[in-house]
Symmetry: D2
Subunit: 356 residues, 4 copies
Amino acid sequence: MAGNSFGKLFKLTTFGESHGVAIGGIIDGCPAGIKLDFDAIQTEMERRKPGQSKIVTQRKEPDQVEFYSGIFEGKTTGTPIGFVIHNTNQKSKDYSHIKDVYRPSHADYTYDKKYGVRDYRGGGRSSARETASRVVAGAIAKQFLSSLKINAFTSSVGDIALDKPYQDLDFDQIESNAIRCPDQETAEKMIKRINAIKKQGDTIGGVITCVIQNVPEGLGEPVFDKLHAELGKAMLSINAVKGFEYGSGFEGSKMLGSVHNDKFNKDGSTQTNRSGGVQGGISNGMDIYFNVAFKPVATTLQKQDTINSSGEAVEMQGKGRHDPCVVPRAVPIVEAMAALVMADYALLRRQESKDW
Amino acid sequence: MAGNSFGKLFKLTTFGESHGVAIGGIIDGCPAGIKLDFDAIQTEMERRKPGQSKIVTQRKEPDQVEFYSGIFEGKTTGTPIGFVIHNTNQKSKDYSHIKDVYRPSHADYTYDKKYGVRDYRGGGRSSARETASRVVAGAIAKQFLSSLKINAFTSSVGDIALDKPYQDLDFDQIESNAIRCPDQETAEKMIKRINAIKKQGDTIGGVITCVIQNVPEGLGEPVFDKLHAELGKAMLSINAVKGFEYGSGFEGSKMLGSVHNDKFNKDGSTQTNRSGGVQGGISNGMDIYFNVAFKPVATTLQKQDTINSSGEAVEMQGKGRHDPCVVPRAVPIVEAMAALVMADYALLRRQESKDW
Amino acid sequence: MAGNSFGKLFKLTTFGESHGVAIGGIIDGCPAGIKLDFDAIQTEMERRKPGQSKIVTQRKEPDQVEFYSGIFEGKTTGTPIGFVIHNTNQKSKDYSHIKDVYRPSHADYTYDKKYGVRDYRGGGRSSARETASRVVAGAIAKQFLSSLKINAFTSSVGDIALDKPYQDLDFDQIESNAIRCPDQETAEKMIKRINAIKKQGDTIGGVITCVIQNVPEGLGEPVFDKLHAELGKAMLSINAVKGFEYGSGFEGSKMLGSVHNDKFNKDGSTQTNRSGGVQGGISNGMDIYFNVAFKPVATTLQKQDTINSSGEAVEMQGKGRHDPCVVPRAVPIVEAMAALVMADYALLRRQESKDW
Amino acid sequence: MAGNSFGKLFKLTTFGESHGVAIGGIIDGCPAGIKLDFDAIQTEMERRKPGQSKIVTQRKEPDQVEFYSGIFEGKTTGTPIGFVIHNTNQKSKDYSHIKDVYRPSHADYTYDKKYGVRDYRGGGRSSARETASRVVAGAIAKQFLSSLKINAFTSSVGDIALDKPYQDLDFDQIESNAIRCPDQETAEKMIKRINAIKKQGDTIGGVITCVIQNVPEGLGEPVFDKLHAELGKAMLSINAVKGFEYGSGFEGSKMLGSVHNDKFNKDGSTQTNRSGGVQGGISNGMDIYFNVAFKPVATTLQKQDTINSSGEAVEMQGKGRHDPCVVPRAVPIVEAMAALVMADYALLRRQESKDW
């Protein structure tokens, strides 16, 4: 209830602070008999980890997952999968300067008000380091959902936006550049912008688009647990996310019904897909696609005026190695959360229908 | 699990199809001892009900709530509040023409694929009629949360947008016009546009903004159940919603960190509020505000080509009384869902802290 | 969270006080496409209702269920089934004498301490009248689980115990007498005892045995949600229940392992069934059987010394029409709760296994 | 949903197989600011661990808990407490003889039918080794609930029963003997019996009684989540448990209402306590007490006929170091589960009442 679990049938619970002994989690409800590809899991970890390119934080953390249970002779057993990632890069001394300081637009202040105590080292529980556990679970969910294709990519950095529809993109190009934008020309512009921002000690926001293909019809629960509502919650639970839209999104609110409606083909597919693959909260078999907006990283390397826990004005300055833009590392996190939602709804669908 | 419940501690479960005997719900977990103002509940119902103005559907439904339990001598007893709204306007014959037809961008097709059977009358369970139950529960949540101020209003219709910050608006003006926009000049433009659209038998989308004030610090759970993530899910679960953003939202993704960060005042409040009242998923005491995008209503009065359940091409035309724009009637629904989230998180907060 | 829901996937939420307008509930998660036998549902209601024989309370309540949603053309639609039973026998004046009195071994005192307010009429929410809603839901669960056989019967009243193993009983005889004991000779003794007790204005306890047959293997979740643990909770949630045991039960604790172990036959069935059809929390395909102990009804017609809400000594006397022994009317309730557990675990099983 | 979590607000999720890398769990929802006594936690582990006396299994496992998160400078932080106990005594070769064999009255057969794959080493997930994680969480729950007194003890072994009411016992004597029976004379008889049984290579069952004192009024949810129903489920989820009764229990079913009813004192306490501290599912401030029946351990050292996974008859014999009677080591597990239930219901109570 304290909010560290996600999913109903395919359920992830995570633990861990950025500078504690370890982070990790338990995946409960993963079906038995799935032969796991551990290299594929580690590959997802590499996509999220710090230090992978020049436009992300230069911290070094191996992010090696250890599985403690739920797997036997390479296959899932249906029992909970416990896993741990040790924090090898704990330099707690680095953080003494922020012990009593509330960093602007971080969670320091709200954690203190909520809990009274706080592991201030590196953001503690509020650090995006926690998302490494989501990537582990998402990687396993992807293997369970092997027939689905889940691709996320950077669609804007600041005001540099990819202006092609996703159908015109080659998803195989996503990993070909540091920003994870499948259009090379736009990618270069984005990277250039981030490098310029980084030199100023500043940060910048961006948008990630995610496309889920080969989705069967009938996934999603009506009323409160609509498929897109759960996807929205999943995305909004990622650190730094400020908005979510699917299908026609905010643009759709400007349209006329006669234009917006998706006409059916005889096979039940639709000629347009402003619905974004979901009608009435339930998948209709068309591609699901959505956008996720990320704010600029709150930690800049510029001096900032702020307060400490005694309400005194203090000056602070971010030190060391921080991401100038969160989106390239957030791409695998968006995919992981999408996979967790789809795995959960796939199991919900299975129990309602014998023949799925 | 089938998705007809919302909330963890303050929990609403709803039932009912638009043309069945009745709709209704159960509110479980409402604290005991709250003296209910039944007129205030009915007032919320009036704000949502059809036929209230010329720019909404002219259907007539009294939407009279009957409470069956959980209230004794005018006060909540802590036991579940069962309530029912009878469907008095059931003209089932009206709907024979859509029995086998899949209306474009409605949920007819997906319900059929999911369940195999479907109460096709008036959209059945997928009809926005279900939201009347949410308004009942939200009205009770508001009374529990009497110290909070929750105000939603129409901030755009099509491309006509209210371009003032919410701080410059007088929320007392929201109910003064049919579109529920507190700026009279913009309201008139919106109404005019809707009337024009209506004459064409067409529909149009819009955006609702919601502001929650007097929020205590410390509401919201870290990681997966962040306060804004739950608000997002709540809004995305409303019929026709395509997007959600809070605080700086999608615009925030275009900004630099040095500009976006909210500087602290000595009392812990912030000079700007791009965070939208939530940091790290937890309320910081500033106003919470967010935008909700609605697509145009899928039922137009124009002829549309579509298919039936046998995959044959058919022509259909919406009949009778439909909303040309959903936003004015959705304003109280947005408020209701916001109230349900806040009530739930208030109870979660109470159990963690003795002195809230 | 306030405890008025049961089940995870096949989920019942109930509302209602014994002397409010109505009681009822919502069944969420019942699979679509089940053709309902409404007579069978009403038959279960008749088995539970007051006034059905001379050894139960002579109150008259028709207990007519009205279904408001979730059913279309006689079949379940997969959407929530809302139902209501109006309280036709509300004589609130009858209860003024207990308004401020705490009846011994009732829930009056604890409800007051917990909630501060209380609908004192007829026990309010704590009345066993609430179980009528369970019987409705259980009757539907039975129809979903049509291949299972669920039979409960009275196995003891006071110290009069049925001393035959259930395998020697003819379950078709259960409904042939007022006490619902399939052995006529024992039934007569039980009825005679109850009549004698009744004349004294006293009450007596008893035990109900339940047998579930044709259970597939693999139902039940390991560790915390063991099948028998959920059955135990289901039974212990019924008013007046004091104990639960399954398979060898408390007697099993006196045995040696070499005697207690169930030897396998080659087909995986076992020669004995001290396990009670469940091993490690998971069904093994053998009959599930368990005992449920009921205390004597707390309302006697004798004078009792007690206190009122001001802590003053008062004398009270139960009036009118009360059950001298709860077990005959509790038999269908035990079956209903067993059916709810089995339906829920059947759905849990379906999502884990495609071929169930 | 797969059943590896317990509790709603104070929630434990466990993972781990008996011969995997490690077992462990996540406690989510433990309030912030609790100063932990780590020695007290380890003491509970010592009470459960193998090898502690001559009447339990002679396996050696240090059972050292490592905490990975949720604790900072010795205090809980409100974030999830992740913990791990490494399995140091993994001799997997020991178990090759049972790889394909279904041990009678174990969970081998049902796990195979449910999951298709199974970690057969030492029982895997179905091993009582999992309960070590429960003891860790229970020890923390006890510290949160420091005002409550939770004492469990052995009240029978086979047919040797402690025949004193718990009020006549000195709970300080529980740890003074190997069987954990506070009456020394009875304890000696029990130990003698177990030693005799052990020599025969056999096993025996028993009963544990648990008493919870200093319970505030008002804990427990009406209807489905009655306090005793949750306690019952908690106990029935422990390996080898066959029955649960509270207050007057099964004996209560033989009594008359006039005798069974608990008369009130003027202060709201009762003269007798057949209710077992719970009325209508809610605590009344009197002692809560209940009995838990354990079957004899299924693994005996005698030869047994059984089958393998091909349905062939095979002979098997338990090897090495097994418990002849599970009850002495189960005493701390019963206390741990009781503490988890009470902690969860204490938090549920806090959210409903500001002044608890």
